[in-house]
Subunit: 233 residues, 2 copies
Protein backbone atom coordinates (compact mmCIF):
# COMPACT_ATOMS: atom_id res chain seq x y z
CA UNK A 1 0.00 0.00 0.00
CA UNK A 2 2.81 2.41 0.88
CA UNK A 3 4.40 1.63 -2.48
CA UNK A 4 1.32 2.60 -4.45
CA UNK A 5 1.30 5.72 -2.30
CA UNK A 6 4.84 6.74 -3.12
CA UNK A 7 4.24 5.98 -6.76
CA UNK A 8 1.30 8.37 -6.65
CA UNK A 9 3.45 11.03 -4.96
CA UNK A 10 6.05 10.57 -7.69
CA UNK A 11 3.43 10.92 -10.37
CA UNK A 12 2.30 14.22 -8.84
CA UNK A 13 5.89 15.42 -8.96
CA UNK A 14 6.13 14.27 -12.59
CA UNK A 15 3.04 16.32 -13.44
CA UNK A 16 4.59 19.40 -11.84
CA UNK A 17 7.72 18.94 -13.94
CA UNK A 18 5.61 18.52 -17.06
CA UNK A 19 3.66 21.69 -16.25
CA UNK A 20 6.90 23.61 -15.70
CA UNK A 21 8.24 22.38 -19.04
CA UNK A 22 5.07 23.34 -20.88
CA UNK A 23 4.91 26.85 -19.44
CA UNK A 24 8.66 27.37 -19.92
CA UNK A 25 8.26 26.45 -23.57
CA UNK A 26 5.14 28.65 -23.78
CA UNK A 27 6.89 31.80 -22.56
CA UNK A 28 9.74 31.21 -25.00
CA UNK A 29 7.41 30.68 -27.93
CA UNK A 30 5.16 33.59 -26.93
CA UNK A 31 8.21 35.86 -26.90
CA UNK A 32 9.23 34.67 -30.36
CA UNK A 33 5.67 35.11 -31.62
CA UNK A 34 5.69 38.68 -30.35
CA UNK A 35 9.12 39.67 -31.61
CA UNK A 36 8.54 38.08 -35.04
CA UNK A 37 4.85 39.01 -35.18
CA UNK A 38 4.08 35.35 -35.91
CA UNK A 39 0.31 34.97 -35.65
CA UNK A 40 0.26 31.19 -36.05
CA UNK A 41 2.78 30.67 -33.29
CA UNK A 42 0.86 33.07 -31.03
CA UNK A 43 -2.37 31.14 -31.56
CA UNK A 44 -0.55 27.91 -30.97
CA UNK A 45 0.65 29.19 -27.55
CA UNK A 46 -2.84 30.46 -26.68
CA UNK A 47 -4.41 27.07 -27.42
CA UNK A 48 -1.68 25.07 -25.72
CA UNK A 49 -2.45 26.65 -22.35
CA UNK A 50 -5.48 24.41 -22.10
CA UNK A 51 -3.17 21.44 -21.62
CA UNK A 52 -1.58 23.18 -18.63
CA UNK A 53 -5.00 23.86 -17.13
CA UNK A 54 -5.97 20.22 -17.61
CA UNK A 55 -2.79 19.03 -15.97
CA UNK A 56 -3.47 21.26 -13.00
CA UNK A 57 -7.05 20.06 -12.60
CA UNK A 58 -5.91 16.47 -12.84
CA UNK A 59 -3.08 17.02 -10.39
CA UNK A 60 -5.41 18.64 -7.87
CA UNK A 61 -7.90 15.81 -8.11
CA UNK A 62 -5.14 13.26 -7.54
CA UNK A 63 -3.66 15.22 -4.64
CA UNK A 64 -7.02 15.47 -2.91
CA UNK A 65 -7.73 11.79 -3.53
CA UNK A 66 -4.35 10.98 -2.04
CA UNK A 67 -5.09 13.05 1.06
CA UNK A 68 -8.43 11.28 1.47
CA UNK A 69 -7.18 7.75 0.89
CA UNK A 70 -3.76 7.77 2.47
CA UNK A 71 -4.11 10.51 5.06
CA UNK A 72 -0.43 11.39 5.08
CA UNK A 73 1.15 13.20 8.02
CA UNK A 74 4.34 15.18 8.65
CA UNK A 75 6.61 15.50 5.60
CA UNK A 76 4.34 13.56 3.25
CA UNK A 77 1.43 15.82 4.07
CA UNK A 78 3.60 18.86 3.49
CA UNK A 79 4.67 17.50 0.11
CA UNK A 80 1.07 17.11 -1.06
CA UNK A 81 -0.05 20.54 0.17
CA UNK A 82 3.04 22.20 -1.31
CA UNK A 83 2.43 20.45 -4.63
CA UNK A 84 -1.01 22.00 -4.76
CA UNK A 85 0.55 25.42 -4.33
CA UNK A 86 3.24 24.79 -6.92
CA UNK A 87 0.62 23.71 -9.42
CA UNK A 88 -1.21 27.00 -8.82
CA UNK A 89 2.04 28.92 -9.49
CA UNK A 90 2.59 26.98 -12.69
CA UNK A 91 -0.97 27.36 -13.90
CA UNK A 92 -0.71 31.11 -13.38
CA UNK A 93 2.63 31.20 -15.24
CA UNK A 94 0.86 29.53 -18.15
CA UNK A 95 -1.74 32.31 -18.10
CA UNK A 96 1.01 34.91 -18.22
CA UNK A 97 2.68 33.26 -21.23
CA UNK A 98 -0.74 33.23 -22.83
CA UNK A 99 -1.10 36.98 -22.12
CA UNK A 100 2.13 37.64 -24.01
CA UNK A 101 0.86 35.58 -26.95
CA UNK A 102 -2.47 37.40 -26.90
CA UNK A 103 -0.70 40.72 -27.11
CA UNK A 104 1.24 39.43 -30.12
CA UNK A 105 -2.05 38.40 -31.72
CA UNK A 106 -3.72 41.69 -30.88
CA UNK A 107 -1.00 43.75 -32.58
CA UNK A 108 -0.52 41.46 -35.58
CA UNK A 109 0.64 42.24 -38.27
CA UNK A 110 2.33 45.06 -36.37
CA UNK A 111 4.95 44.38 -33.75
CA UNK A 112 4.03 45.23 -30.16
CA UNK A 113 7.68 45.85 -29.29
CA UNK A 114 9.62 48.67 -30.94
CA UNK A 115 12.99 47.69 -32.37
CA UNK A 116 15.04 49.54 -29.76
CA UNK A 117 13.44 47.34 -27.06
CA UNK A 118 13.67 44.11 -29.04
CA UNK A 119 16.89 42.97 -27.34
CA UNK A 120 15.60 43.72 -23.83
CA UNK A 121 12.34 41.84 -24.36
CA UNK A 122 14.23 38.94 -25.94
CA UNK A 123 16.43 38.77 -22.86
CA UNK A 124 13.42 38.89 -20.54
CA UNK A 125 11.76 36.07 -22.46
CA UNK A 126 14.89 33.93 -22.46
CA UNK A 127 15.53 34.56 -18.78
CA UNK A 128 11.93 33.68 -17.93
CA UNK A 129 12.28 30.42 -19.84
CA UNK A 130 15.61 29.64 -18.13
CA UNK A 131 14.15 30.37 -14.70
CA UNK A 132 11.32 27.93 -15.34
CA UNK A 133 13.72 25.28 -16.65
CA UNK A 134 15.71 25.63 -13.43
CA UNK A 135 12.51 25.46 -11.37
CA UNK A 136 11.70 22.14 -13.11
CA UNK A 137 15.20 20.91 -12.31
CA UNK A 138 14.76 21.94 -8.68
CA UNK A 139 11.52 19.91 -8.50
CA UNK A 140 13.39 16.87 -9.83
CA UNK A 141 16.66 17.18 -7.92
CA UNK A 142 15.45 19.02 -4.79
CA UNK A 143 18.76 20.87 -5.05
CA UNK A 144 18.57 23.70 -2.51
CA UNK A 145 21.63 25.50 -3.89
CA UNK A 146 20.11 25.60 -7.35
CA UNK A 147 16.85 26.84 -5.84
CA UNK A 148 18.67 29.71 -4.17
CA UNK A 149 20.38 30.54 -7.47
CA UNK A 150 16.97 31.33 -8.90
CA UNK A 151 16.73 34.34 -6.64
CA UNK A 152 19.88 35.76 -8.16
CA UNK A 153 18.52 35.13 -11.64
CA UNK A 154 15.43 36.97 -10.56
CA UNK A 155 17.57 39.98 -9.68
CA UNK A 156 18.64 39.94 -13.30
CA UNK A 157 14.97 40.07 -14.30
CA UNK A 158 14.48 43.10 -12.06
CA UNK A 159 17.42 44.76 -13.78
CA UNK A 160 15.93 44.11 -17.21
CA UNK A 161 12.61 45.40 -15.98
CA UNK A 162 14.31 48.57 -14.79
CA UNK A 163 15.96 48.97 -18.20
CA UNK A 164 12.53 48.75 -19.77
CA UNK A 165 11.22 51.49 -17.49
CA UNK A 166 14.21 53.68 -18.17
CA UNK A 167 13.33 53.49 -21.87
CA UNK A 168 9.71 54.31 -21.14
CA UNK A 169 10.53 57.28 -18.93
CA UNK A 170 13.16 58.64 -21.27
CA UNK A 171 12.16 61.99 -22.76
CA UNK A 172 13.19 60.68 -26.13
CA UNK A 173 10.48 57.97 -26.07
CA UNK A 174 8.82 58.34 -29.46
CA UNK A 175 6.60 55.26 -29.72
CA UNK A 176 3.45 56.80 -28.34
CA UNK A 177 1.05 55.80 -25.62
CA UNK A 178 -0.26 52.53 -27.06
CA UNK A 179 3.22 51.04 -27.21
CA UNK A 180 4.00 52.41 -23.74
CA UNK A 181 0.94 50.60 -22.40
CA UNK A 182 1.92 47.38 -24.21
CA UNK A 183 5.48 47.52 -22.93
CA UNK A 184 4.31 48.27 -19.38
CA UNK A 185 2.04 45.23 -19.38
CA UNK A 186 4.69 43.02 -21.00
CA UNK A 187 7.20 44.00 -18.35
CA UNK A 188 4.70 43.09 -15.68
CA UNK A 189 3.95 39.70 -17.29
CA UNK A 190 7.61 38.66 -17.47
CA UNK A 191 8.30 39.87 -13.96
CA UNK A 192 5.31 37.98 -12.53
CA UNK A 193 6.28 34.87 -14.52
CA UNK A 194 9.74 35.01 -12.99
CA UNK A 195 8.23 35.49 -9.52
CA UNK A 196 6.20 32.32 -9.92
CA UNK A 197 9.27 30.33 -11.03
CA UNK A 198 11.16 31.59 -7.97
CA UNK A 199 8.16 30.79 -5.81
CA UNK A 200 8.14 27.16 -7.05
CA UNK A 201 11.82 26.83 -6.20
CA UNK A 202 11.31 28.37 -2.77
CA UNK A 203 8.56 25.93 -1.99
CA UNK A 204 10.98 23.09 -2.70
CA UNK A 205 13.46 24.71 -0.30
CA UNK A 206 10.73 24.80 2.30
CA UNK A 207 10.01 21.11 1.77
CA UNK A 208 13.65 20.13 2.06
CA UNK A 209 14.74 22.40 4.87
CA UNK A 210 11.46 23.18 6.64
CA UNK A 211 12.42 26.84 6.41
CA UNK A 212 10.40 29.43 4.62
CA UNK A 213 13.08 31.26 2.60
CA UNK A 214 11.13 34.47 3.17
CA UNK A 215 8.38 33.17 0.96
CA UNK A 216 6.23 36.19 1.57
CA UNK A 217 8.80 38.56 0.11
CA UNK A 218 8.46 37.12 -3.38
CA UNK A 219 6.60 39.99 -4.93
CA UNK A 220 7.57 43.30 -3.42
CA UNK A 221 6.38 45.09 -6.48
CA UNK A 222 9.60 45.50 -8.39
CA UNK A 223 7.98 47.46 -11.20
CA UNK A 224 7.30 50.32 -8.85
CA UNK A 225 10.82 50.08 -7.52
CA UNK A 226 11.87 50.14 -11.13
CA UNK A 227 9.84 53.23 -11.84
CA UNK A 228 11.28 54.79 -8.75
CA UNK A 229 14.85 53.89 -9.56
CA UNK A 230 14.50 54.81 -13.19
CA UNK A 231 13.33 58.21 -12.20
CA UNK A 232 15.98 58.85 -9.61
CA UNK A 233 18.65 57.62 -12.04
CA UNK B 1 -13.22 15.31 19.31
CA UNK B 2 -15.48 16.11 16.35
CA UNK B 3 -16.60 19.25 18.16
CA UNK B 4 -13.10 20.58 18.58
CA UNK B 5 -12.64 19.74 14.93
CA UNK B 6 -15.60 21.75 13.75
CA UNK B 7 -14.61 24.61 16.01
CA UNK B 8 -11.24 24.61 14.31
CA UNK B 9 -12.91 24.58 10.89
CA UNK B 10 -15.02 27.55 11.95
CA UNK B 11 -11.99 29.43 13.17
CA UNK B 12 -10.34 28.93 9.77
CA UNK B 13 -13.44 30.38 8.15
CA UNK B 14 -13.33 33.30 10.61
CA UNK B 15 -9.75 34.02 9.62
CA UNK B 16 -10.71 34.06 5.95
CA UNK B 17 -13.44 36.59 6.70
CA UNK B 18 -11.02 38.72 8.68
CA UNK B 19 -8.51 38.62 5.83
CA UNK B 20 -11.21 39.64 3.35
CA UNK B 21 -12.24 42.54 5.56
CA UNK B 22 -8.67 43.72 5.98
CA UNK B 23 -7.86 43.65 2.27
CA UNK B 24 -11.23 45.22 1.38
CA UNK B 25 -10.46 48.08 3.74
CA UNK B 26 -6.92 48.27 2.37
CA UNK B 27 -7.99 48.73 -1.25
CA UNK B 28 -10.45 51.44 -0.19
CA UNK B 29 -7.86 53.29 1.85
CA UNK B 30 -5.16 52.86 -0.79
CA UNK B 31 -7.49 54.42 -3.36
CA UNK B 32 -8.19 57.36 -1.06
CA UNK B 33 -4.47 57.77 -0.35
CA UNK B 34 -3.82 57.89 -4.06
CA UNK B 35 -6.61 60.24 -5.03
CA UNK B 36 -5.88 62.61 -2.12
CA UNK B 37 -2.12 62.15 -2.28
CA UNK B 38 -2.18 61.30 1.44
CA UNK B 39 1.26 59.98 2.32
CA UNK B 40 0.43 58.97 5.86
CA UNK B 41 -2.56 56.95 4.80
CA UNK B 42 -0.50 55.28 2.05
CA UNK B 43 2.17 54.25 4.54
CA UNK B 44 -0.48 53.01 6.89
CA UNK B 45 -1.86 50.71 4.17
CA UNK B 46 1.63 49.49 3.25
CA UNK B 47 2.41 48.55 6.84
CA UNK B 48 -0.98 47.01 7.51
CA UNK B 49 -0.42 44.34 4.86
CA UNK B 50 1.87 42.53 7.29
CA UNK B 51 -1.17 41.64 9.37
CA UNK B 52 -2.74 39.97 6.32
CA UNK B 53 0.43 37.99 5.68
CA UNK B 54 0.54 36.88 9.30
CA UNK B 55 -3.08 35.78 9.18
CA UNK B 56 -2.36 33.73 6.09
CA UNK B 57 0.67 32.03 7.61
CA UNK B 58 -1.27 31.26 10.73
CA UNK B 59 -4.26 29.96 8.76
CA UNK B 60 -2.03 27.70 6.69
CA UNK B 61 -0.35 26.27 9.73
CA UNK B 62 -3.70 25.54 11.35
CA UNK B 63 -5.11 24.00 8.15
CA UNK B 64 -2.13 21.69 7.80
CA UNK B 65 -2.28 20.74 11.49
CA UNK B 66 -5.97 19.97 11.03
CA UNK B 67 -5.25 17.74 8.04
CA UNK B 68 -2.60 15.88 10.01
CA UNK B 69 -4.57 15.46 13.23
CA UNK B 70 -8.09 14.92 11.97
CA UNK B 71 -7.50 13.47 8.52
CA UNK B 72 -10.78 14.72 7.13
CA UNK B 73 -12.32 13.10 4.05
CA UNK B 74 -14.96 14.07 1.49
CA UNK B 75 -16.54 17.49 2.05
CA UNK B 76 -14.47 18.34 5.12
CA UNK B 77 -11.27 17.66 3.24
CA UNK B 78 -12.47 19.84 0.40
CA UNK B 79 -13.26 22.66 2.81
CA UNK B 80 -9.74 22.66 4.23
CA UNK B 81 -8.02 22.49 0.84
CA UNK B 82 -10.28 25.19 -0.56
CA UNK B 83 -9.59 27.41 2.46
CA UNK B 84 -5.90 27.21 1.69
CA UNK B 85 -6.61 28.44 -1.81
CA UNK B 86 -8.88 31.23 -0.66
CA UNK B 87 -6.24 32.43 1.75
CA UNK B 88 -3.77 32.60 -1.14
CA UNK B 89 -6.27 34.71 -3.13
CA UNK B 90 -6.75 37.03 -0.18
CA UNK B 91 -3.05 37.36 0.55
CA UNK B 92 -2.45 38.29 -3.08
CA UNK B 93 -5.29 40.84 -2.95
CA UNK B 94 -3.54 42.44 0.00
CA UNK B 95 -0.37 42.72 -2.07
CA UNK B 96 -2.32 44.46 -4.82
CA UNK B 97 -3.82 46.99 -2.39
CA UNK B 98 -0.29 47.57 -1.15
CA UNK B 99 0.87 48.16 -4.74
CA UNK B 100 -1.73 50.92 -5.11
CA UNK B 101 -0.55 52.50 -1.86
CA UNK B 102 3.08 52.27 -2.94
CA UNK B 103 2.26 54.09 -6.15
CA UNK B 104 0.59 56.84 -4.09
CA UNK B 105 3.73 57.09 -1.96
CA UNK B 106 6.01 57.09 -4.98
CA UNK B 107 4.22 60.02 -6.62
CA UNK B 108 3.68 62.03 -3.43
CA UNK B 109 3.23 65.02 -3.23
CA UNK B 110 1.99 64.76 -6.81
CA UNK B 111 -1.10 62.80 -7.70
CA UNK B 112 -0.60 59.64 -9.76
CA UNK B 113 -4.06 60.00 -11.27
CA UNK B 114 -4.92 63.00 -13.49
CA UNK B 115 -8.14 64.76 -12.58
CA UNK B 116 -10.07 63.60 -15.65
CA UNK B 117 -9.55 59.99 -14.49
CA UNK B 118 -10.27 60.68 -10.82
CA UNK B 119 -13.91 59.55 -11.02
CA UNK B 120 -13.09 56.34 -12.91
CA UNK B 121 -10.36 55.32 -10.46
CA UNK B 122 -12.61 56.18 -7.52
CA UNK B 123 -15.28 53.90 -8.98
CA UNK B 124 -12.76 51.11 -9.52
CA UNK B 125 -11.57 51.41 -5.92
CA UNK B 126 -15.09 51.44 -4.53
CA UNK B 127 -16.16 48.51 -6.69
CA UNK B 128 -13.08 46.52 -5.65
CA UNK B 129 -13.92 47.15 -2.00
CA UNK B 130 -17.57 46.19 -2.56
CA UNK B 131 -16.58 42.99 -4.35
CA UNK B 132 -14.39 41.98 -1.45
CA UNK B 133 -17.13 42.81 1.08
CA UNK B 134 -19.46 40.54 -0.87
CA UNK B 135 -16.82 37.82 -1.00
CA UNK B 136 -16.59 37.99 2.79
CA UNK B 137 -20.36 37.73 3.02
CA UNK B 138 -20.29 34.71 0.71
CA UNK B 139 -17.75 33.00 2.97
CA UNK B 140 -20.06 33.59 5.95
CA UNK B 141 -23.42 32.81 4.35
CA UNK B 142 -22.33 30.34 1.63
CA UNK B 143 -24.98 32.08 -0.47
CA UNK B 144 -24.52 30.75 -4.01
CA UNK B 145 -26.74 33.41 -5.58
CA UNK B 146 -24.70 36.18 -4.02
CA UNK B 147 -21.53 34.43 -5.21
CA UNK B 148 -22.83 34.41 -8.77
CA UNK B 149 -23.69 38.12 -8.46
CA UNK B 150 -19.99 38.82 -8.03
CA UNK B 151 -19.39 37.80 -11.61
CA UNK B 152 -21.79 40.48 -12.79
CA UNK B 153 -20.06 43.04 -10.60
CA UNK B 154 -16.83 41.94 -12.17
CA UNK B 155 -18.27 42.77 -15.60
CA UNK B 156 -18.69 46.29 -14.26
CA UNK B 157 -14.99 46.32 -13.37
CA UNK B 158 -14.14 45.25 -16.91
CA UNK B 159 -16.24 48.12 -18.20
CA UNK B 160 -14.40 50.62 -15.98
CA UNK B 161 -11.11 49.12 -17.08
CA UNK B 162 -12.15 49.61 -20.68
CA UNK B 163 -13.04 53.25 -19.95
CA UNK B 164 -9.55 53.70 -18.55
CA UNK B 165 -7.99 52.29 -21.70
CA UNK B 166 -10.19 54.45 -23.90
CA UNK B 167 -8.77 57.49 -22.10
CA UNK B 168 -5.23 56.20 -22.52
CA UNK B 169 -5.64 55.48 -26.21
CA UNK B 170 -7.41 58.74 -26.95
CA UNK B 171 -5.37 61.01 -29.18
CA UNK B 172 -6.11 63.86 -26.80
CA UNK B 173 -4.20 62.13 -23.95
CA UNK B 174 -2.00 64.88 -22.63
CA UNK B 175 -0.60 63.49 -19.39
CA UNK B 176 2.57 61.98 -20.83
CA UNK B 177 4.14 58.57 -20.61
CA UNK B 178 4.80 58.37 -16.87
CA UNK B 179 1.14 58.86 -16.06
CA UNK B 180 0.15 56.42 -18.81
CA UNK B 181 2.40 53.79 -17.21
CA UNK B 182 0.95 54.53 -13.75
CA UNK B 183 -2.62 54.32 -14.98
CA UNK B 184 -1.91 51.09 -16.90
CA UNK B 185 -0.51 49.44 -13.77
CA UNK B 186 -3.32 50.77 -11.59
CA UNK B 187 -5.91 49.38 -13.97
CA UNK B 188 -4.20 46.01 -13.81
CA UNK B 189 -4.08 46.07 -9.99
CA UNK B 190 -7.80 46.77 -9.60
CA UNK B 191 -8.73 44.23 -12.20
CA UNK B 192 -6.60 41.51 -10.57
CA UNK B 193 -7.97 42.44 -7.14
CA UNK B 194 -11.51 41.98 -8.47
CA UNK B 195 -10.52 38.65 -10.05
CA UNK B 196 -9.32 37.37 -6.69
CA UNK B 197 -12.56 38.42 -4.97
CA UNK B 198 -14.54 36.61 -7.66
CA UNK B 199 -12.27 33.62 -7.32
CA UNK B 200 -12.94 33.44 -3.55
CA UNK B 201 -16.68 33.49 -4.21
CA UNK B 202 -16.37 30.81 -6.90
CA UNK B 203 -14.51 28.54 -4.55
CA UNK B 204 -17.41 28.78 -2.11
CA UNK B 205 -19.77 27.83 -4.96
CA UNK B 206 -17.58 24.83 -5.63
CA UNK B 207 -17.73 23.81 -1.98
CA UNK B 208 -21.50 24.13 -1.82
CA UNK B 209 -22.44 22.67 -5.19
CA UNK B 210 -19.44 20.54 -6.07
CA UNK B 211 -19.38 22.30 -9.43
CA UNK B 212 -16.51 24.32 -10.70
CA UNK B 213 -18.31 27.47 -11.95
CA UNK B 214 -15.75 27.63 -14.77
CA UNK B 215 -13.06 28.43 -12.24
CA UNK B 216 -10.39 28.42 -14.89
CA UNK B 217 -11.99 31.26 -16.79
CA UNK B 218 -11.40 33.76 -14.01
CA UNK B 219 -8.61 35.69 -15.65
CA UNK B 220 -8.93 35.75 -19.39
CA UNK B 221 -6.81 38.82 -19.56
CA UNK B 222 -9.47 41.52 -19.68
CA UNK B 223 -6.94 44.31 -20.00
CA UNK B 224 -5.98 43.10 -23.42
CA UNK B 225 -9.61 42.74 -24.33
CA UNK B 226 -9.98 46.27 -23.08
CA UNK B 227 -7.15 47.51 -25.24
CA UNK B 228 -8.67 45.68 -28.15
CA UNK B 229 -12.14 46.99 -27.59
CA UNK B 230 -10.96 50.49 -26.86
CA UNK B 231 -9.17 50.53 -30.16
CA UNK B 232 -11.98 49.13 -32.23
CA UNK B 233 -14.42 51.54 -30.57
Amino acid sequence: MRDAYHEELDSISDSLVEMARLVGSAIGRATTAMLDSDLKLAENVIEADQKVDELQHDLEARAIALLARQQPVATDLRIVVTSLRMSADLERSGDLAQHVAKLARLRYPDRAVPSDLHATILEMGQLAQRLMAKAAEVIITKDVDLALQLEQDDDEMDLLHRTLFQHLMDDRWKHGIETAVDVTLLGRYYERFADHAVSVAKRVVYLVTGEHADELQTDVQPEIQAVSEAESA
